[in-house]
């Protein structure tokens, strides 16, 4: 089956994008509520929530596009996401005071069944296995 140029048409990508989209919506809503209603309680944690949400949104869009530029953005977003969940996960274990309220990435995403820890790895593996074909480089507007 021919793939539409500029979009990823494989089912695996569809699944990955679906999970990313779910986390993008969940993280964005949570960060919005936290910042709007109780920002003063834990500014660091809530700003990290917002950052995590932004990364999920970018990753969702980037993985669903199949152009060299978006592929690089997707790689960057997934890498940042993996580093973020590891850093925030570790910090939240050792400095619980800074994280009185859980964020998506607290304790490596325990509140989200550790999906936040698995997701960037799945994303990076997927991107590595499905590189953007060379002809895409020459496509106008790609």
């Amino acid at each position: 089956m021919a793939e539409a140029p500029g979009s990823r048409a494989t089912g695996g990508a569809r699944l990955l994008v679906a999970v990313y989209a779910l986390f993008a919506v969940a993280a964005t809503s949570r960060a919005a509520v936290q910042i709007a209603t109780k920002f003063d309680e834990a500014p660091l944690a809530y700003l990290l929530s917002a950052l995590a949400a932004a990364v999920y949104v970018v990753a969702t869009v980037a993985i669903s596009r199949r152009t060299p530029a978006w592929h690089r953005v997707a790689l960057a977003a997934c890498t940042f996401e993996l580093l973020g969940v590891l850093a925030v996960g570790t910090l939240s274990l050792f400095d619980a005071a800074a994280f009185p309220d859980a964020t998506v990435w607290s304790v490596f995403g325990r509140g989200y069944l550790f999906v936040p820890l698995v997701l960037p790895v799945a994303g990076l593996v997927y991107l590595r296995r499905h590189p953007v074909p060379d002809h895409a480089l020459r496509e106008p507007g790609a």
Binding site: A9, T10, G11, G12, R14, L15, A18, V19, L22, V25, S29, V33, T37, L113
Partner: protein, 121 residues
């Protein structure tokens, strides 16, 4: 919150999640019986929303009413979006999109129950 109703909702969504895994593994494609199950679950979610509104209107208050309603309303969107996304392409992995949607409904319902347990009336 009607705890029994939400437990049924969570149980049904987990059962449907298992069903979608079976369908994906067997590669048999999404049949009408599965769609009927999803429709039934969506119907129960609507009932759950109505029950939640009636109870809050009756004076019971979860710790964050805004979050509570965001979950009650947000959970309605998950299955339609997941279903459209899933049937748009017939392949095994895209059937698993429905699994994700059903698990998400179960998790959101569990969060609703948790919030309601902390409610004061």
């Amino acid at each position: 919150m009607n705890t029994a109703l939400s437990v049924v909702v969570a149980g049904l969504s987990l059962a449907l999640a298992a069903w979608t895994v079976v369908v994906a593994v067997a590669g048999s494609g999404i049949r009408n019986s599965l769609l009927a199950g999803l429709l039934a679950l969506e119907g129960l979610l609507l009932v759950q929303l109505v029950v939640g509104v009636v109870l809050v209107a009756g004076g019971q208050r979860p710790p964050s009413t805004v979050t509570f309603f965001a979950y009650l309303v947000g959970v309605l969107v998950v299955l339609p979006v997941g279903t459209l996304w899933s049937v748009a392409e017939k392949s095994r992995p895209s059937t698993l999109v429905l699994t994700v949607a059903c698990v998400a409904v179960a998790v959101m319902t569990a969060r609703l129950l948790q919030m309601w347990a902390d409610a004061r009336g």
